[in-house]
């Protein structure tokens, strides 16, 4: 079975500085992996997804993530934080290859200070 661990429950950065949100996964096979973002009182929106085509994945709003199989990591980064990036971020993996069920990390709240 797969598992997803987000290593930080809360990250605080200053506007204009880099963002790093960390995610490790456990899987017996190369998975698909996703990052979703949830702004306050909103539903979840897909930021980016890894599906084995390329290890460096670019998403919306300047975010990107790199799949590192040797480290079982899928960290989310952005070179320069914007105030509008303040939200909760979820690293997500399929539960198995064909059920459609997803496993969510517990989420990381990103705070962006002016």
């Amino acid at each position: 079975a797969q598992s997803v661990t987000q290593l930080d429950s809360h990250v605080s950065v200053s506007e204009g500085t880099p963002v790093l949100l960390r995610c490790n996964y456990s899987s017996s096979y190369s998975p698909s992996l996703f990052w979703y973002v949830q702004h306050p009182n909103k539903g979840l929106q897909l930021l980016l997804k890894y599906t084995s085509a390329a290890t460096l994945v670019k998403g919306i709003n300047g975010f990107e993530a790199e799949f590192k199989k040797s480290e079982t990591s899928f960290h989310l980064t952005k070179p320069s934080a914007h105030m509008s990036d303040a939200a909760e971020y979820f690293c997500v993996a399929p539960f198995s290859s064909n059920t459609g069920k997803l496993i969510f990390g517990q989420g990381t709240t990103l705070q962006v200070k002016p």
Binding site: S32, F34, Y36, N41, K42, G43, L44, Q45, L46, K49, F90, S97, N98, G100, K101, L102, F104, G105, Q106, G107
Partner: protein, 115 residues
């Protein structure tokens, strides 16, 4: 988003009453899901559907039932609401690609309070 609506968006009810939440999609996606979101737990799957009249349990299915009589509608019923079911409920849908579901698209959520 994928044209997903949830109703009601907010509901307050009393312990012991039945409650039904509706999810409606306009994208003809095969898969539909119900999650609950609670602080410190991320999203947890309650039930999901892989086709009309085809449903299965998720990790927190006790006290909940679902029905899917049409592709576009997926109903979640709390048979007898309890305070522990106070939560935000999200519906999601997924199309299929090569027979397996792709990423999921989420509705706006329903905030349920059980007093």
């Amino acid at each position: 988003d994928a044209g997903i609506t949830q109703s009601p968006r907010h509901k307050v009810t009393e312990t012991g009453t039945p409650v039904t939440l509706r999810c409606h999609q306009t994208e003809n996606h095969r898969y539909m899901y119900w999650y609950r979101q609670d602080p410190g737990h991320g999203l947890r799957l309650i039930h999901y559907s892989y086709g009309v009249k085809d449903t299965d349990k998720g990790e927190v299915s006790d006290g909940y039932s679902v029905s899917r009589s049409k592709t576009e509608d997926f109903l979640l019923t709390l048979e007898s609401a309890t305070s522990s079911q106070t939560s935000v409920y999200f519906c999601a849908t997924a199309p299929t690609t090569s027979g397996s579901p792709n990423e999921q698209f989420f509705g706006p959520g329903t905030r349920l309070t059980v007093l």
